[in-house]
Symmetry: C2
Subunit: 201 residues, 2 copies
DNA sequence: CCGCTACTATGACACTCGTCATAATCGCGG
DNA sequence: CCGCGATTATGACGAGTGTCATAGTAGCGG
């Protein structure tokens, strides 16, 4: 996510985690080498085994967890910046994050969490657990935002899952087609359903 | 997809394509070696360069195309077997295909098309094109089924994209969580929306 | 039997990967 | 300056990869 060009973060460790997420979401876990991560983060290669004694599995897991926290933080910012707090508006903002990125830099990158799930053979079991945690961390603020907007709490979790799934799936299709069509279509079709779930009061 | 244990197909070439799809959807493109494919297909290793002179890229692309044709064929079978032809019933059948597989063999495998899109670095440009074609081949019968059920043709394509995206995304979440929850949730939440799109006549 | 084509067998090549071993360097407290 | 832990540097190793070269074996028309 983010501008993707620079490498923020204070310590070399954080930079490597960030770079790992960036590279993973582009080419997948298997295609992302440890040497590449160090180079992308402008970090010394020797630091890899120092900061990540668990090896690649640890680095990947932490990159995925970072992505989950990032997505959660991002949802909070979306909610705060909505003109009117409708579920469809939140969903549209989530989708627009990706359409904007496509417009800016092409369909070259996807979601690092999805990459970790698909590449589970290269990523190891720890990465799968981290992916589940990342999805949970992402779903929590979405669900809470929905309840704040008036969605019954019984349905909020389900709709949050639906929103995340729709975004991830549409993102896959959009990357394959090199076109934002799937993303915009999903946003347009799902919006009314989401707004219809808010209870009148 | 399918039972995944045996390797059907008449010629060695078809068996290798099938095996490639099977292995890709488990561990991703990068983790699937050519030697593994030949072994899984019980095909001689020397046949690889004979049948696929284009190398791994050709094999992966063909596996993805095969997956697209398989999904399309499967949709046709779903439509034919529906008790009553409602869009929600078709969607439920698409989802049940995955929940059944999870119940039978765990959350070890996903969609090979999704794997090819994520692992685009290992798969090459040809695989991405093949993935787009596979999604298109999959969407066509879904869209046609929707129009046959009474959905206005203007919305049928959009809803087909939504259905595919929701399945793919929920499949990702379900694999991460090792639980069919996301799949069943999506089926339950999206059903009414789909049925509401059929025009009264 | 010959010749030809389709297919298979096998080993090697060049390369990359993750990981480890070992040593050098830095930054400080004492 | 010494010592010591934290960090970095560098090279090597073994296992894997995809791909190629070369030879071998069927199977069949003539």
């Amino acid at each position: 996510m983010a501008a993707a060009g620079e490498v923020p973060g204070r310590g070399p460790r954080e930079r490597m985690v960030f770079s790992a997420a960036q590279l993973i979401r582009r080419g997948g876990v298997g295609a992302t080498g440890m040497r590449d991560v160090a180079a992308h983060a402008r970090a010394p290669r020797g630091s890899l085994q120092h900061y990540f004694p668990g090896g690649k599995e640890e680095l990947v897991a932490e990159a995925v967890e970072w992505a989950g926290r990032y997505a959660a933080r991002r949802v909070g910012r979306f909610v705060a910046g909505l003109p009117e707090p409708k579920p469809s508006a939140l969903f549209a903002a989530m989708v627009r994050q990706w359409t904007d990125e496509f417009a800016a830099q092409g369909a070259t990158a996807g979601c690092p969490v999805a990459a970790a799930v698909v590449d589970c053979a290269d990523a190891g079991e720890a990465a799968r657990t981290a992916a589940a945690a990342a999805f949970a961390a992402w779903a929590a603020p979405v669900s809470r935002a929905l309840t704040d907007m008036g969605v019954p709490s019984a349905r909020a979790d389900a709709l949050a899952t639906l929103m995340m799934g729709a975004v991830e799936g549409a993102l896959l299709i959009a990357r394959a087609e090199r076109d934002t069509r799937a993303l915009t279509v999903v946003a347009h079709e799902l919006g009314p359903l989401l707004d219809a779930a808010v209870e009148r009061r």
